[in-house]
Amino acid sequence: MAGKKEFLIKINLDFCKACGLCYSYCPTKAIGPDKEFRASVVDADKCIGCLQCENYCPDFAIEIEEIK
């Protein structure tokens, strides 16, 4: 789809403490919990770059980068 932005979801599992905030607040469920409740990418295409996950993550463990 022309014009649709794409995003890279970068998760740092060394920092992630599995609090669940990022995926709880992700409006598109582009991300979700892994087996140990850490953040993991469910469907990167769904990401709309709203940065909710990044803003709520207390642990500097998830960042969103726009792919140009």
Binding site: A18, G20, E54, Y56, P58, D59
Partner: protein, 272 residues
């Protein structure tokens, strides 16, 4: 992409805070707001007291000082008096700033000395295990309130206003972008600025009060939040228990050290 790493001492991460602790959300908001100021890192001085929240300074790649419980503001005052060119930011908690440190808080506000105080209000003493703080809401439980808490809370915003602060705002971790904005406004104020950020401590507060997860707690905060504008049209009873957010004062008054330099240094030199 915002580059947090630029402002972090990465080797100190992961931080000691519990999973989902609001402290991390505030720290990030503060970093983004500081970034907007365009300050040299060398010119920023981060000062904190003692508490979970006060550990923030250790993670920031600025000049940083972790002081005594309650005393961040007078340490910061001395630094500002010695080197006014430093941009001094105080990271503190509800216990640190309004319990043991309450006096320093109101006096710095009175003087209008150019410090920006970012107050992490999680309504509890997190670090020592969940004793009630001056902002623990009535009726809730704490380790020293086993039968339910009876103390009326400080309205920290009212307290700062009453003491004479020139910038006073409140935000919450439920709204990280708004928080970032008001911190930024506070940083811009040349004078004493107080930004209270209501935060979640599920570990020491939530678990005792039927909110086990960070998410539940943040939603609890959100559910009680109303903007200042909206609150103005509410009845007193309705406002009860609400977290009213927004900027409550934004005023220009002479800054303390500048006044000192203009009046006292000048007169002293002229006079002697």
């Amino acid at each position: 992409m915002f580059d947090y790493a630029e402002y972090l001492r990465l080797d100190k991460l992961p931080h000691i805070w519990c999973y989902g602790c609001g402290n991390g959300i505030i720290l990030k908001g503060a970093i983004r707001a500081i970034d907007k100021m365009g300050w040299e890192k060398d010119s920023v001085m981060a000062v904190s007291g003692i508490g979970c929240s006060s550990r923030a300074t250790g993670y920031l790649d600025f000049n940083s000082l972790h002081t005594l419980h309650g005393r961040a503001i007078p340490f910061a005052t001395g630094i500002k008096m010695a080197k006014p060119e430093l941009n001094v930011i105080v990271f503190t908690g509800d216990g640190d700033a309004t319990a043991i440190g309450g006096n320093h808080f109101i006096h710095a506000a009175r003087r209008n000395i150019n410090l920006t105080v970012i107050l992490f209000n999680n309504n509890i003493y997190g670090m020592t295990g969940g004793q009630y703080s001056p902002t623990t809401p009535k009726g809730y439980f704490a380790s020293t309130a086993p039968y339910g808490h009876i103390d009326p809370s400080f309205d920290i915003v009212e307290l700062a206003l009453g003491a004479g602060a020139t910038f006073v705002a409140r935000s919450t971790v439920a709204n990280p972008r708004e928080m970032e904005k008001v911190i930024h406004e506070g940083l811009k104020n040349k004078g004493f600025s107080l930004i209270e950020v209501v935060s979640n401590c599920h570990e020491r507060f939530g678990k005792r009060n039927k909110m086990k997860s960070p998410y539940e707690m943040i939603e609890w905060i959100r559910s009680r939040s109303v903007s200042k504008v909206k609150a103005e049209s509410m009845e007193a009873e309705e406002r009860e228990g609400k977290i009213i957010t927004g900027i409550f004062r934004q005023e220009t008054r002479p800054e303390y050290v500048e006044t000192y330099d203009e009046l006292v240094l000048k007169k002293a030199r002229g006079g002697i």
